[in-house]
Symmetry: C2
Subunit: 208 residues, 2 copies
DNA sequence: GGGCAATCTTAACAGTGTTAAGATTGCCCC
DNA sequence: GGGGCAATCTTAACACTGTTAAGATTGCCC
């Protein structure tokens, strides 16, 4: 039985988000229920409505938390990668896939309908800051000739699409990678990003 | 009021799937309800259970229909593209993105949890046949030197990931493309697939 | 035509999101 | 410190959902 201490919980909002984050891997993003979360938090089943307008608001808060976790994973990858911008770029992509395969429910929570739209300003700021900094580095590398002189936005969008799509395909089982096999997924991600590096059109022999 | 003719409907199964296909763009994949579909079909709210074990089974049948629609779009693209395998490859990718942006609810219905697993054998066969034929052509083109001599599976997986991820990102609004703007999406898809063609690593000047 | 099995309906249960009304409590201000 | 206000939480209810069991209706085959 969930212990119900005082009439006023005082930290219900955070507790609910924490409960959602905890229950997420167990029941999946679509299996979350406001009432169940309230029970888990030791509170009446209608209590959440004093902190969230509706279920989607709670899901948005949950998704924000997931975005932060993903961002941490990417930042860790970037730190480990060092200053070689090519390596940095590839390892970020691999880390993206790793996160998705290691935490598929978290990943799915971020693509629930209408969740990306109402991302909290603070989270959006952090995410944007990361993208801006990495974008800056990529542009510099491009100027140095380390990256092909392609339209920048298209280049970034292509890279983002690649790892996002790969993550989705692996999670959905449209790939030989078994669910949860992070290391295998990482190897596949390395190969796929390498293909993206050299391109599908043939290069003259012996060149890169 | 929905007209309820006879006690036995006789084509309920197909009617339900058709109703789902029809309601899909209006209410979205997550907004579908078995009871609402039964009402729409002019039948009692428990009738669907004599044709589908549970809601997921209906959703799987719906997803199968969506796979066929997507497949038709890809086949049309392939026919229009002709025999230039590079063009064929790129246009297939663009058609994939077009379909997703034009029918986002259909696209989402295909990635509902646990739906890809129970795809009907006949649909799976058709999809596999398409992939096999296109794979064969790609291998031949690669042997001719029209496609880079990369590990084949990685190459295909990368291309699939690219267009799937791009479609997802556009639908989710993570892109300048406005929802439903198919032509804009197609232009973006052309650019992104072009990036994939030449690769992110620089090539010597004047070469392709 | 009789009987059987498929098909559909009615009725009910448990669970959900959501809202309205009232109880409880922290907290600010006099 | 005490009074009152507003935030917080509870209880109760409504409408909806997926799902199941029991019975009614009908097509169909022998």
């Amino acid at each position: 039985m969930t212990t119900r201490r005082k009439y006023h919980h005082r930290h219900l909002r955070d507790t609910l988000v924490a409960a959602a984050l905890e229950a997420l891997p167990e029941v999946g993003a679509e299996g979350l229920s406001l009432r169940a979360l309230a029970r888990r938090a030791g509170v009446s089943e209608a209590a959440p409505y004093h902190h969230f307008a509706d279920k989607d608001a709670l899901l948005a808060a949950l998704a924000a938390e997931c975005f932060l976790l993903l961002l941490e994973a990417l930042e860790a990858a970037v730190r480990e990668a060092g200053d070689d911008q090519r390596r940095r770029f590839q390892l970020t992509g691999i880390a993206y896939v790793r996160f998705a395969v290691a935490h598929p429910a978290h990943f799915r929570a971020m693509e629930l309908p209408g969740v990306a739209a109402r991302m909290p300003a603070e989270v959006k700021r952090k995410v944007d800051a990361f993208y801006r900094e990495e974008g800056r580095r990529m542009r510099a590398a491009q100027k140095q000739g380390l990256i092909a002189p392609l339209p920048f936005d298209g280049l970034i969008l292509a890279a983002t699409s690649l790892v996002h799509g790969l993550a989705r395909l692996i999670i959905d089982g449209a790939t030989p990678v078994k669910p949860g096999d992070v290391e295998h997924a990482a190897r596949v991600a390395r190969e796929v990003t390498a293909v993206f590096g050299v391109g599908v059109l043939p290069r003259p022999a012996g060149q890169l």
